[in-house]
């Protein structure tokens, strides 16, 4: 494990419209953990500008990037710029349960935190 991976993770939520900000607000209300998630919207920007927004939000890392859909502009922009970074992982299909889980596991390495959050997010999907 690298030193960078032991630093608490930041979470970046990349989504259409205002979804990211709304999800983060809800996750912060539930957990009380504020300031560790950053929203990025694809509204009003082309591919290049969206990539820059994501890279700026990620900063020096380490980080987990949560994307709304498992395909499309947000995912493509994230992967184009981040796929070769060892200190960043990308998770698709972001939901509230996923973000709440992440906020409680920010001390894990990026790959473990991403897998943990993805599992929680998946487990939250049910047809009761």
């Amino acid at each position: 494990m690298s030193n960078a991976a032991r630093e608490p993770l930041r979470g970046i939520v990349v989504a259409h419209g205002s979804i990211a900000a709304a999800l983060i607000d809800a996750a912060e209300q539930i957990t009380g953990a504020r300031g560790f998630l950053t929203p990025v919207s694809n509204t009003g920007c082309d591919r290049g500008a969206l990539e820059e927004r994501i890279v700026t939000a990620v900063g020096p890392g380490p980080a987990v990037v949560f994307v709304d859909m498992a395909a499309g502009s947000c995912l493509i922009a994230a992967l184009r710029r981040l796929r070769e970074r060892d200190d960043v992982r990308v998770v698709t299909g972001v939901n509230l349960a996923m973000l709440v889980d992440f906020l409680f596991h920010r001390t894990l390495p990026p790959a473990e935190a991403a897998a943990h959050a993805a599992a929680s997010g998946g487990n939250a999907i049910k047809v009761p």
Binding site: N42, G44, D46, R47, G48, A49, G72, L75, I76
Partner: protein
């Protein structure tokens, strides 16, 4: 005619194209014309992920697409053709203006120097003038992000 849509969209293949246009048009082929993507298999895989399995995706350079336009026009697959910028679509129009007649401006977003003309359409003055020249040459140019929105003629765009 099986080429149903010629769209300029700087996000290339994304939900608005695949779902917004794909369903009502009954598309079974998307042609993405972009020299960079045509040369990058990894990016092609990413774009394929956004498209249902029943829709074929073709990645083509501008030169290759120009050569294939008559073939795509003649065959029976219901096809939408995408470029990420105006210049690429203009090159296709120049290659075959009998086929590329109606150009859809579907999404050109903010970047320095551009002005908002519509919520999904930002153009520099030079880009607007370029489009007007294209229209003067005979192309019909409209702005329309999704089929349920009205098509706005280039003449109405300021």
């Amino acid at each position: 005619m099986s080429l149903l849509l010629f769209r300029v969209d700087d996000r290339l293949i994304h939900g608005q194209v695949v779902l917004g246009w794909g369903r009502p048009l009954g598309l079974d082929r998307l042609v993405l014309v972009d020299d960079a993507v045509a040369a990058n298999e990894w990016e092609q895989e990413l774009y394929r992920m956004a498209v249902p399995a029943n829709i074929e995706v073709v990645f083509a350079s501008i030169a290759s697409a120009s050569a294939h336009l008559p073939e795509w026009k003649a065959d029976r697959q219901r096809t939408a053709l995408l470029t990420g910028d105006i210049e690429s679509m203009a090159a296709l129009y120049a290659a075959d203006h009998d086929t590329v007649k109606l150009i859809n401006l579907g999404g050109l977003h903010h970047r320095p120097g551009r002005t908002e003309r519509l919520p999904y359409l930002y153009l520099t003055d030079d880009e607007l003038a370029f489009l007007r020249n294209l229209a003067a040459e005979g192309a019909e140019v409209v702005a329309q992000d999704v089929p349920t929105a009205p098509a706005i003629d280039l003449e109405a765009i300021r």
